[in-house]
Subunit: 383 residues, 2 copies
């Protein structure tokens, strides 16, 4: 076994007195990330519709997410390897976290089939046959050069019956053991430290979630993730599962809630001790005209905004939020203009990052609980 | 008749000794534009895929083009009027030139029909019935608040027989008289000076072009345009027509060549005394992966660029040209990622604007002809 990497570290910096919320610092080979953090999703090596400069300067992203499934299929690991890793391929010097691809195999790929070996699937792009195993998804993420890699898991659908969920957890655990073994047997591909996060599964069944969290803890990785939430279950069930799992996941390691969620979901999860988030909501829904603003949620396609010439968001999380009007953005979105997707994506991501930054500040100031309660109504209001 | 507007002016600043090329300054109510100038096309109130800040800072646009046909249909002149004109609607403070919509009626709209009154058509968006007349297209452009308005014309297809071309020129001239009358009877809608440019038509028939140029000159507007070129005819025919027409269009007024063209077309036209250009080529072809670079033309979809990690264009007309690699841009374009369209559009427009700027400098320095000859081979080379 390799010695513990000494350039990776998570430090809890402050704890809220009334809740489990905390702030921290995640140290990676490509820089430090204050937590809680929202990670913009850059599926195929691009946060859709956003130039890197805007991601860095206007949105203030400190880390982005890539997806092993997408990157493996296109451009392919051969090209990423020739480029010197994903960071160099896409000209991004800050940290990258990669999802292993398990979720995409189940949500995107055709003809998927689980075997003892791994997940067989056909590419959604050209129908070609592939297999993802716990081992080769580590190898792929090593080549990509992700600062934080994820173990291959099965994300059970919602709803799913107990029997299916139990079998699925067992498969995920078996895969986790193999992923950890491969992780320990291999070294960073590009000489820069890489860490692996295991993923807690178990659908909405409390006992399976406990079992999975306990198993995940034994892997003793540098951080832990919770998967399989925000897949259709009521928010209250998600919050309950987070509480159960976070009782078990160690305090001193970062906790990453995968694929969640709305601004309210995020504040509720921060309150319950989550440190890291990613979600396509701000970009995907933004492209379709859904805007998260300081005043509430706007569907900018709605006729009521046609002659509203006030800024997209007067609270202005990004420069585009103040520069462009709701009426203009509505025109762009309705006309299918690329610029509409650009403005909405920059604004929404900036809104998410500012919100999580503010949560961090409120935790440090000891005022998180009151602030969170005052925010949740406003954040879920539809204008 | 109103007195001549005194805040509009074109000044020829320098003339090339060997060719008809010249530099000038176009003064509009929204600012000055050095010529020769390439005008980025912002069809529906947006230069596709480009934030205004990048248009201003990275590309250096000094004027953009809007399209009356598109803007009239969506968002509609009612909304643009409520916003206080297009400049305010789209948050763009520099000059705007609008095409009257004639070209779009013939290229985009359904069920178009020419009557004495004007052009009947159905919207390509929802099939609704509309009519464009020489008068109402002036009214629409007044409400839009265009600094430079264009007269409604018929752009004859290529090839077209002499009889058709002759009839078409006659219609265009009839429409021009009516447009000029309406223009003279009305005042700027927003209190800021607006000028009208007539358009020379006549397909590739020398006598019709002469006839049309002579007619257009009698309108005595502040500038003149040449339409109906770069519609499929050989480049040499286009250059010949430009020469014939520019013999007639007055030296002291700006000459605008509509919808042209490739970088080589533009240099050839500058040599023949053209001052203003617009074309969708840099943005439309850019979105499809065609890049104009200092070394030649690149189809970035081509496999040969898959592992070329050098910058999009080492000569770097824009920051994105240097920041991103050819291999990365290829990946984005092939994957249908919005960011691919963004990078290619910014780069290509910056390339066009730098080229025209350089032409201006070379004319001033008295070195235009030699420079142009040295550029044309490189510019048309396909890498």
């Amino acid at each position: 076994m390799l010695p513990k990497p000494d350039n990776y570290m998570f430090t809890v910096q402050s704890r809220d007195k009334e809740t489990r919320a905390r702030t921290g610092l995640l140290r990676t080979a490509h820089g430090d990330v204050p937590t809680p953090v929202f990670i913009p999703v850059g599926t195929a090596g691009t946060v859709k519709g956003i130039l890197h400069r805007d991601l860095l300067e206007d949105i203030g992203a400190k880390i982005i997410l890539g997806n092993a499934y997408h990157l493996y299929l296109r451009p392919g690991t051969d090209i990423i390897e020739k480029a010197g890793g994903l960071h160099r391929f896409m000209s991004w010097d800050l940290p990258v976290l990669t999802d292993s691809g398990g979720y995409q195999v189940f949500s995107l790929a055709d003809n998927r089939k689980l075997t003892d070996e791994g997940a067989l699937f056909r590419s959604h792009i050209d129908g070609s046959e592939h297999i993802f195993t716990p081992e080769n998804t580590i190898d792929i993420q090593r080549i990509i050069g992700a600062d934080i890699m994820m173990a291959l898991d099965e994300c059970a659908p919602f709803p799913c019956d107990y029997r299916y969920a139990k079998k699925s957890v067992s498969l995920t655990h078996n895969w986790l053991e193999r992923a950890v073994r491969r992780f320990r047997e291999t070294e960073p591909f590009w000489g820069k430290n890489q860490v692996l996060f295991p993923i807690v599964q178990g659908s909405t069944f409390d006992d399976l979630r406990k079992l999975s969290a306990e198993f995940v803890v034994t892997a003793d990785m540098e951080g832990n993730a919770i998967g399989g939430l925000s897949v259709g279950e009521p928010a209250e069930e998600m919050y309950r599962i987070i509480e159960i799992v976070n009782e078990i996941l160690p305090e001193e390691k970062p906790r990453y809630l995968m694929g969640v969620g709305t601004p309210v979901n995020i504040l509720e999860a921060i309150e319950r001790g989550i440190d890291m988030f990613d979600c396509v909501l701000p970009t995907r829904n933004g492209r379709n005209g859904m805007l998260f603003t300081g005043e509430g949620i706007i569907n900018v396609r709605n006729k009521k905004w046609a002659t509203d010439f006030s800024p997209v968001d007067p609270e202005g999380p990004s420069t585009v939020s103040l520069y462009y009007s709701k009426a203009y953005l509505r025109h762009l979105v309705i006309s299918g203009e690329i610029l509409g997707a650009q403005i909405a994506s920059i604004h929404n991501l900036a809104f998410y990052l500012r919100l999580v930054d503010e949560a961090r500040r409120k935790i440090e100031e000891g005022d998180f609980k009151r602030w969170k309660n005052s925010m949740t109504n406003k954040l879920s209001e539809r204008l």
